[in-house]
């Protein structure tokens, strides 16, 4: 199934376009949402996306996306090992740059040198997506309306 995503300009594009990857940044995904023209978080979710950076510049951009993502990632290493977990930190220091990830069931974080990463899979549910305040207000108004109708019937 092809899921439709939207870029910041609101243009729809199929998710599968992300998979072959670069130049993926033509879509202008950013970590932060515009504060002046907020959009529904679900429209911008990276959930399901895969990035395989081919240059240092691309790698740095994907690291920022991954760092801002509120869901688990699967990192595919050049050694073919796959590491699943929540990426909570990145330390960018030239060739010694690394990411820190909390893996389910592991007490401490694991450090992964950036140079060893082949691909970033945004596999986990984006926990910052959906569950909007507007949905809660709609539900609340509906409940109040129903309460009023029940009261007038009784």
């Amino acid at each position: 199934m092809v899921r439709v995503c939207r870029n910041r300009e609101g243009h729809a594009f199929p998710q599968r376009d992300l998979i072959p990857l670069f130049p993926v940044f033509r879509f202008h995904f950013t970590v932060s949402m515009s504060q002046d023209a907020p959009e529904e978080p679900s429209d911008q979710s990276l959930q399901g996306a895969v990035f395989r950076p081919t240059s240092l510049e691309e790698l740095l951009k994907v690291i920022e996306l991954a760092f801002g993502y509120r869901g688990d990632m699967t990192l595919e290493l050049k050694s073919r090992e796959s590491i699943n977990g929540y990426l909570f930190n990145r330390v960018l220091d030239g060739p010694r740059s690394y990411l820190e990830i909390f893996q389910p069931g592991h007490p401490g974080p694991r450090k992964i040198p950036c140079r060893e990463i082949h691909a970033f899979h945004f596999t986990g549910q984006d926990t910052a997506s959906g569950e909007s305040w507007e949905a809660w207000v709609r539900k609340r108004q509906e409940e109040r309306k129903n309460e009023g109708q029940n009261f007038s019937r009784s």
Binding site: V31, S32, M33, Q35, P38, P41, G68, R70, G71, D72, G85, Y86, F88, N89, R90, V91, E100, F102, P104, G105, G124, Q125, T127, A128, E131, S132, W133, E134, W136, V137, R140
Partner: protein
Amino acid sequence: MAVPLSQMATVVGYVVSQKFKGVKRYPLVLMLEPLFRCNLACAGCGKIQYPEHVLDRRLTPEQCWAAAEECGAPIISIPGGEPLIHPEMPDIVQGLVQRKKYVYLCTNAILLERKIDEYAPSNYLTFSVHMDGLRDEHDLAVCRDGVYDVAMKAIKTALKRGFRVTTNTTLFNDANPQRVRAFFDEMMDLGVEGMMISPGYSYEKAPDQHGFLKRHRTQELFSSILAKRKRRWRFNQSPLFLEFLMGKRDYQCTPWGNPTYNIFGWQKPCYLLQDGYVSSFRELLESTAWEQYGVGRNEKCRDCMVHCGYEASAVEDTFSSWSGFAGTVKATLFPNVT
């Protein structure tokens, strides 16, 4: 008086000693987040959006005590998540109190009555109850009906048991000044020690992105709320910070004033922004590019006027010059004189 004299003396002594030592950046309040799990999902909160295995992680009491000692701040605020969910929270609090830290245990109070026997009243412990306004406003803000009534009952119980209780209130752009003023009256009638107020911060991850206040609107709103302030309202905050909210004073942010420690480590640069983590407080102070944060320096800081960034600025102003000190005295004794 909104704060006991002993606490005030401790804070004044601490700040003056830092000044004498020539310390340029000193912490005032440690924001200790022992867990991110919460029993509410408030619309304006960007703190709890994590996968389950991250929400299951908690700081140990030893980690909390070590952070408090390393940081050295005289006040420790414990937000979260909902701290009362943490099974070792009574131990954490007891250890901090033994270290003579003034602890503000922030809670939505849903679990307070059930857990209150696990805590002992102390001058060093305050329950800081999240109250975002009168019943309608609060229940709407926390996205659950009935929470206001639960919190009110819990506050009464805590006060009856001899605990120090304050409220903390986050205001969004739909706040009605008259309703907020009525809320202040209600809290004072309850007998809380003091109130803390702040505009909400535009968390990138919060579900409600439409409710956050812009800077100018913040100043208008707080000017309306705090104009002709009633004598009986007690605020657990610097009077200069309240003037800052009203637009009477202009401050730059002091992010190191309220450093944050949580399951990821010491958070760069502040309680609200997450720009990375380091493993020690010293590293936080030394490796953070502080000059890149604050109004006019960072887009994410543009509209922020939150107390965790500016309360320390106000305190610094008080102790940095005679005019700041005089301004504090005037704002304390004559808050309505312009």
